[in-house]
């Protein structure tokens, strides 16, 4: 370590009057601490989602629908109207909400277990139905909440508690690129895949979330942002190794970027 450098005090804001605060600890929509593991990527995704609601000025005109996974506990710290729904069912619940509240921005927050295992049908049907809602997928390739078992997005070779020798395609099948499936459907306004492994990917992912909500506000149909998130606990790696593992395993199988761009302004509309 660079122990030779001087340690700067960081227990309070700088006294220097010229200091300008450029970033709060957290957005004001985040009400308190979460209980997730060290190095978990999900709280980062939550933060950029909530910041986006603030940036777009839709804070008090949004309803979230949150599934079951470690992120499920976020309903306690999101200062947004929220329905905590059944495992896998967020897109259907969001449908019911949006149809009754068409002027409100409606989004889901689901994990890979929630969306790609239990609720694969729900997200695909909702997308094809062109439901004008935004889905946020936190994909860490495992059921984090139940202790790290294989999901439908676990990459080949990955060890999980139910693929203890590594995911073997002959026994356990292949991962499903849900965002690509969604992107291929009519009824869809915007689909992208981001990650929260590095500051750069976080910034890019935040723009994707913004584009998804803008797509919804423009009535373009279903939008989805898949976010690859670290789960050091479920991956059996140290927290500091999370981002590298993410880049080397998941990003190889699930490349980042826009999978379905928003329609050109001229062609926009429901």
């Amino acid at each position: 370590m660079t122990q030779e450098l001087r340690i700067v005090p960081t227990d309070r804001p700088p006294a220097d009057g010229k200091a300008r605060k450029v970033a709060d600890f957290r957005p004001s929509l985040m009400l308190g601490e979460h209980g997730l593991c060290p190095g978990c990527g999900e709280p980062v995704a939550l933060r950029i989602l909530l910041e986006t609601l603030q940036d777009l000025g839709i804070v008090n005109n949004s309803i979230g629908v949150v599934g079951h996974g470690c992120y499920g506990s976020f309903v306690r710290i999101m200062d947004v109207d929220v329905l905590q729904c059944l495992h896998g069912r967020a897109p259907s619940c969001a449908t019911g909400i949006k149809r009754m509240r068409p002027q409100t921005a409606v989004f889901t927050m689901q994990g890979d277990g929630d969306m790609v295992n239990e609720g694969l049908q729900e997200v695909l049907h909702t997308a094809a139905r062109g439901e004008n809602v935004t889905a946020i997928l936190l994909n860490n390739g495992v059921f984090g909440d139940t202790g790290g078992q294989q999901t439908a997005t676990t990459v080949l070779g990955q060890r999980t508690k139910t693929s203890i020798e590594g995911r073997d395609p002959g026994l356990h099948g292949h991962p499903i690129p849900v965002a690509d499936l969604v992107a291929s459907l009519d009824g869809v306004g915007y689909v992208a895949r981001g990650a929260v492994g590095t500051a750069g990917s976080i910034a890019r992912t935040k723009r994707m979330i913004r584009a998804a909500f803008e797509s919804q506000l423009a009535g373009e149909g279903f939008s989805l942002v898949e976010i690859l998130t670290m789960c050091p606990t479920g991956w059996f790696v140290g927290a500091p190794q999370g981002p590298d593992y993410l880049a080397e395993s998941m990003e190889q199988v699930f490349p980042l970027g826009d999978l379905r761009a928003r329609p050109k302004p001229s062609g926009a509309g429901a």
Binding site: T2, Q3, D11, V22, A199
Partner: protein
């Protein structure tokens, strides 16, 4: 770079020691403490040279950082 361009406030009690900020800091000015906080985790310490880039705050899962910039100076 003798005058800092930025600085951070570190809420060490919230830190869970994941070290993501260490890797993320572009000028590499964060180091982990040897001490642990109340919950038993080591936490980052800032060395001089912060640019106020907010990268640490961006990657930290536990909302440990508040970031300041000294506007009058530098770049």
């Amino acid at each position: 770079m003798n005058q800092p361009r930025g600085t951070v406030v570190i809420d060490t009690e919230r830190c869970k020691g994941c070290e993501l900020c260490i890797e993320a800091c572009p000028p590499d000015v964060l180091v982990m403490s040897t001490e642990v906080n109340e919950t038993g985790y080591r936490y980052p310490l800032l060395q001089s040279g912060c640019t106020g880039c907010t990268a640490c705050r961006m990657v930290c899962p536990d909302q440990v950082f508040e970031v300041y910039r000294f506007d009058a100076r530098g770049a």
